[in-house]
Symmetry: C2
């Protein structure tokens, strides 16, 4: 619980666990473990993103993941882990070790753990052969073993690679054996393991994810006090710096009732949180801002200093940004602020580059230079050096210029250089969003 | 072994493992396991970056990590894992569960596993009290338990947080119990566990890391054929897309001999790889380019299209970029290419925005607009849409303009939008580096 390194949105540490406990009254039907196989993992050569993805996916499906074991490509350890985990859990998902080489030994270890022989699967061999022919390669003996499975296994097709998976009963567990390549593993898990989980589940379960930016997790939690009890739902949080995702999970006797309950509780949460919620599901803040701009037919540009181009990079991470994003002026040096953005020399000398005046002039200059409807700017001290008593590290001024005027704001962001830059980028996007969704000023023109 | 999802630098899959085997002839003195404790991990709420960091750190120190176990905050599972792992390993490192709340139970689980009582440690209680007073907070009963340790433990100070760690002998293992917050855990591991590992080691061990960009891992490996045998070293690879790190590891009876052997083999590897090696240790390509620019007193700017600002963001990730980086023009829209960078209308209509001509004009325009010595540009099709038979997704033109002229190049990058953008950004930085380190043209002026 003390794992979060995000000092700016420190979580009151017992809340997450309280929710885990309250969730347990629903008696989840399935208790799971993950077994991740690969020396590249035990040597720290790659991050175990599969474990995090599977753990979240199973948790969202109301499965309690009790253990995640990572073992090297060594048969005795793999077999021992299979025995132990299949004894203690209903569902066991393994990843890795299905490749064609001699150190890919998961399949033979499962056969050994079960005491059954390997059998060659004709349709898989044919599919493998066809796949290699299409790629202009020959079928080797190494490849052929990818069509071998423990006797009694159900073969699981892999549309994205050469290694099929399989499922089989072992001990108390239903075991799903999947490849380690994430883009092969994920669709196979969704196609084969998730339906099993859903079938094993005794009740309906539904979840709504609210995406928020702007409040620390503890404050979001305070705002939502009482909703869990009132609506009989479980509320969970996931911090993806600097965003906070709120997960509203409902269990009911039927799926329809669960969906209705989750929706109703999520709506209540949205009422409480207001504009802090920028979307639902998997949308990101840059995407939400892009969607609003496209809806209104407006274009956006940015003027960046301390972020060095990060806001533009975030806005263009998803495809389709050309529908609203025109470009940026990254004015890291003051000369560029003057020459390209037209920031006044006097503003820089009298107020300093990190000031509301300069942020405003940057936004207004970018609006002109890029020919956009809305320009967002920021200038700040990302650190670790460059701070002063007046303007410490993390101090950021930002502004948004539109046809009807310019708004500015400032923040003091705790954390390291990467955290300051990332939160600053999100903050200026949140200000763009705020302006886009603001109601018309009384008696005035509608906002752009 | 089949875990890598990087199709553009596919590894011949048995090489990594061959090296693991050849390394084993050195009979490492220490066999280790990691135990990561926290329901936030088994629920997939955060990635287990601690495990990857510790596994790599231990591997680099010639320790074989055989198992990584992740368990929820549940006493029976924690105690069972402690028993099992301490029976099978020489070194056991646990992370997490040392916080002040009721679900932080690692310390009491260790005491239970050992069958010893908890004892309050006076100096830790005083230090905790002083720390909380400085933060303007009171010492609560919850905090006080952070000064309790199993009888017989050695307390390990935590300079960056309230939770001290401890070490203690359990079963066959030396157990190091560390907090879960990475910025607290890492320095404690280096200060306390690493010296133990070094003392337990029977031989000298030294490693040189070469950072490379531009060749796929399999080609790098081919270039280095024979060095392992000739120099009696172990060569390992780590891919951090789009870079490849080459780790040259030497074991010798003494530390000095190991360092000399690693250095000599690394120099041989550098001879073979040439300019593909841009640095050693932890330097990144953007940092290496920055260092060269600072050495030569030159300034850099960028003109970006498909990367949306990513090159600037990468160049300014580290502190000190203001010594060489002036700014960028992100010209996502063609109008901005024309208006701010001065790209000719005719170039856009005749050759298209993704063309060598436009890339060159963008670089030259950025050099003028930003007033820099060197300007780097790129324009491409990041996908997933927008590809044509002539210019498919992943097609990128880039250019670098200097006082003495402009060079351009192009790439066709496989992979998804994120991979195309990231590799394109690195490719243009590699071209800047190539120009900076190129020998003077025969009879001509030196390169800038």
């Amino acid at each position: 619980v003390s794992r979060s390194s995000i000092s700016s949105c420190r979580v009151a540490p017992d809340r997450g666990r309280a929710r885990v406990r309250s969730g347990s009254r629903y008696d989840p039907a399935v208790d799971a473990a993950l077994l991740c196989i690969g020396t590249e993992l035990t040597r720290g050569e790659i991050a175990n993103t599969n474990a995090t993805w599977l753990a979240e996916r199973l948790t969202d499906a109301n499965v309690t993941v009790r253990a995640i074991d990572v073992v090297a490509d060594e048969a005795p350890h793999i077999v021992a882990a299979l025995h132990r985990l299949s004894r203690d859990h209903d569902l066991l998902v393994s990843t890795g070790g299905l490749g064609p080489t001699t150190d890919d030994i998961t399949t033979s270890c499962v056969a050994a753990a079960l005491g059954v022989p390997l059998e060659r699967h004709g349709p898989s061999l044919e599919a493998l052969h066809a796949r290699l022919v299409r790629a202009g390669r020959a079928l080797t003996a190494s490849n052929e073993k990818q069509a071998d499975f423990p006797a009694g296994a159900t073969v699981l097709a892999n549309p994205n690679g050469t290694a099929p998976g399989f499922s089989i009963r072992i001990g108390r567990a239903s075991l799903f054996v999947l490849p380690g390549v994430p883009r092969e593993m994920k669709p196979m898990f969704d196609a084969h393991a998730l339906p099993f989980v859903r079938a094993a589940r005794r009740r309906g379960v539904a979840q709504v994810r609210l995406k928020t930016f702007g409040l620390p997790e503890s404050t979001v939690n305070d705002h939502l006090a009482g909703i869990e009890v009132e609506h009989d739902v479980v509320i969970g949080y996931r911090a993806r710096y600097p965003e906070i995702e709120v997960k509203v999970l409902a269990h009911r006797p039927t799926q329809a009732a669960a969906e209705q309950a989750a929706r109703r509780a999520a709506d209540r949460a949205r009422d409480r949180l207001g504009d802090v919620v920028y979307g639902e599901g998997t949308v990101t803040l840059p995407e939400a801002v892009g969607d609003l701009l496209v809806q209104r037919g407006l274009t956006l540009g940015t003027a960046e200093s301390c972020t060095g181009g990060l806001v533009g990079a975030l806005l263009t991470e998803g495809a389709g940004a050309s529908a609203f994003f025109r470009g940026s002026v990254v004015a890291y040096a003051d000369e560029v602020k003057r020459s390209v953005l037209g920031v006044e020399e006097a503003a820089l000398t009298q107020h300093g580059a990190v000031s509301a005046v300069v942020a405003r002039q940057m936004a207004e200059g970018a609006r002109r230079a890029l020919g956009v409807d809305i320009a967002a700017s920021l200038t700040g001290i990302a650190g670790p050096g460059g701070g002063t008593p007046d303007k410490p590290v993390g101090f950021v001024h930002y502004a948004v210029a539109t046809e009807t005027g310019t708004r500015d704001a400032r923040l003091e962001i705790p954390g390291d250089r990467g955290m300051v830059r990332r939160r600053a980028a999100f903050a200026v996007l949140a200000l763009v969003r705020e302006i886009l969704i603001a109601p018309p000023a009384p008696g005035g023109e509608p906002r752009p």
